[in-house]
């Protein structure tokens, strides 16, 4: 059993990612920004190149041999995605990123909203799961309401219950499956049950969940699930909205053009069945191929293995960072119901809070890549009473040695800006 927990041969995995062997100045790269975007294995890059060079054509509309090859590759990728999340292929819509997927959800569900209706999201959401709802609320007169968080950085379900947050007026609930700042794993299934009890649609922003193999749409309870390719070893330029077929079939189109139609006439048009209804214009064909290759790669290692590795590294990082003087972890400090994004603030010995830009910059001078800012979650930072934070985020290629480098680096940062300790 311990064998499984210890996981796989990380060095062998890292050999598939040539970029991880880069030098940043005099230092080896320590890439701890995978929640922002992951690195890509050679296998994914090769699949994309091979597609462009030898099987490139438009899909569906191109019926010649190359067109059939491209279509088979594109639709094959759709099947791989569907299988990876436990859905069916006609429930998988390819978008350009998770943000478009969430906008698609907001706009199409929004067509049913009226003044007085309520949409519920949470203060810990990424802007991509906030702004689309603000825009649709503005347009329709619906009211936007928010889950608060507890001091530990988890959704405050007790307060929500007391406030009657989810009630008969609630039409949509949209919550992140895993927070990109706090790492919190949110109880989507429980919230979905509450949403469904009042007839609301449940949307899950799974951008930080799917890359870690944490999502099975058959049991999750959400009706719509958004995620993005570039955070799961895949290319940029592709995201996914999964939806229950009968829900998708009841939604109006979002963007118009290309193959999303049934018949176009001067007097008006009729639209294709899902998923095509929601894919306007030439889709991200090579990107789907790349995402399919990324899923193959994840499956080959095994998502359980990946999860076990990440859990181990997250636990190690939480322990190691807790020992850095002046460092305060935002969100859960134990590796329980917690993803591998670890945000923190750093205060020097003479009590100056080092700004995340400065943390980032000094770590970068040692080859260590972390993110500093509000991580597209400004309302969450406001709720936490801070402007910005630093974030280290892990993935299947992260090593304990990298965590050690980070911890050492943070000590150096604190010394640089504060009195030498």
């Amino acid at each position: 059993m311990p064998e499984t927990l210890i996981g796989y041969d990380v060095a062998a995995i890292r050999a598939d990612f040539p970029g991880l062997s880069r030098q940043i100045g005099a230092h080896p790269l320590v890439y701890l920004d995978s929640a922002n975007t992951s690195q890509k294995p050679q296998q994914v890059v090769d699949a994309i190149s091979d597609h462009y060079l030898f099987h490139n054509a438009n899909v569906a509309r191109a019926m010649h041999t190359l067109g059939m090859e491209a279509t088979a590759a594109y639709e094959g990728a759709r099947e791989k995605v569907a299988e990876f999340i436990g859905g069916s292929r006609d429930e998988v819509i390819f978008t350009k990123n998770a943000s478009e997927a969430l906008n698609l959800a907001a706009n199409t569900l929004g067509s049913r909203l009226q003044p007085g209706d309520e949409i519920v999201i949470s203060v810990l959401e990424h802007h991509s799961n906030i702004v689309p709802w603000q825009l649709v609320a503005e347009r329709t007169g619906a009211k936007l309401r928010w889950f608060d968080i507890t001091d530990e950085g988890r959704l405050d379900l007790v307060k929500a219950e007391a406030e009657g947050l989810i009630n008969q007026r609630t039409k949509i609930v949209s919550v992140a499956a895993v927070s990109n700042v706090l790492g919190t794993v949110n109880p989507i299934t429980e919230i979905a049950a509450k949403a469904h009890a009042v007839g609301a649609v449940m949307v899950a922003d799974a951008a930080q969940a799917v890359p870690h193999g944490r999502v099975n749409v058959a049991t999750l309870g959400a009706d719509l699930v958004a995620f993005t390719g570039h955070k799961m070893l895949g290319p940029t330029g592709i995201g996914v909205l999964w939806g229950r077929y009968d829900l998708l079939a009841s939604l109006p189109p979002f963007l118009g053009g290309g193959e999303m139609i049934n018949v176009v006439k001067l007097t008006g048009s009729t639209y294709a069945e899902p998923p095509y209804r929601f894919e306007a214009g030439t889709p991200p064909i090579a990107q789907a191929v790349g995402l399919g290759a990324a899923i193959d790669y994840l499956n080959q290692i095994g998502v359980d293995q990946v999860a076990a590795h990440e859990e181990r590294i997250t636990a190690y990082a939480l322990t190691r960072l807790a020992r850095v003087p002046g460092l305060r972890i935002l969100g859960p400090t134990q590796p329980i119901d917690r993803g591998g994004a670890i945000s923190f603030t750093l205060t020097t010995a003479d009590n100056v809070e080092v700004h995340p830009h400065d943390v980032m910059q000094l770590l970068d001078s040692r080859g260590i890549a972390v993110r500093g800012g509000h991580h597209c979650a400004r309302p969450l930072h406001e709720r936490l009473g801070i402007v910005a934070s630093s974030r280290a985020s892990l993935y299947l290629y992260t090593t304990t040695a990298e965590i050690d480098a980070l911890a050492d680096g943070l000590n150096y940062v604190a010394d640089f800006f504060g009195g030498r300790s």
Binding site: M63, N262, V263
Partner: protein, 150 residues
């Protein structure tokens, strides 16, 4: 995947002389089905007598595969029970999605076995299914119309 696998003599014959083509009365249901990417259309009528398909008539615009397939379909289902017609539809659909790995039963599918080669051209499967799916819809509508009458 030679083009001869696709354009069998039977197909070309049906294409050049479509059976049961032209709209006829009476009919209980009429539907239009479209292939969105090329605009091919079939307007198809179904007349039932109880459980029996007494007539299928249609007007279609489309490629040789879609036209021949509709012609073959009409030959096959006229005079059969709706249940039997639906069962043939199921066989045909399975054959179309088999990518060529399907042993068609000539006794059941008759001329429709000529379409086994189409399954190797995924882009054309939609063409071959156009008339069949129109029939499926129309027959279902005709059935509920019959039930309404009773």
């Amino acid at each position: 995947m030679s083009v001869e696998t696709l354009y069998q003599e039977i197909i070309l014959d049906h294409y050049k002389a479509k059976h049961h083509s032209g709209l006829r009365e009476p009919y209980q249901a009429e539907v239009t089905h479209v292939n969105p990417s090329c605009g091919d259309e079939v307007l198809l009528r179904v007349e039932l007598d109880g459980e029996t398909v007494t007539d299928v008539s249609y007007e279609g615009i489309g490629c040789s595969i879609s036209q021949a397939s509709t012609s073959v379909m009409a030959d096959l289902v006229i005079g059969k029970s709706v249940t039997e017609a639906m069962s043939l539809l199921a066989d045909f659909t399975e054959m179309m999605h088999s990518q060529g790995r399907y042993e068609p039963n000539e006794d059941r599918l008759e001329d429709a076995i000529a379409f086994v080669g189409v399954a190797q051209f995924p882009a054309r499967v939609k063409c071959a299914l156009l008339g069949w799916s129109a029939f499926k819809d129309a027959a279902a509508q005709a059935l509920s119309a019959e039930e309404g009458r009773q």
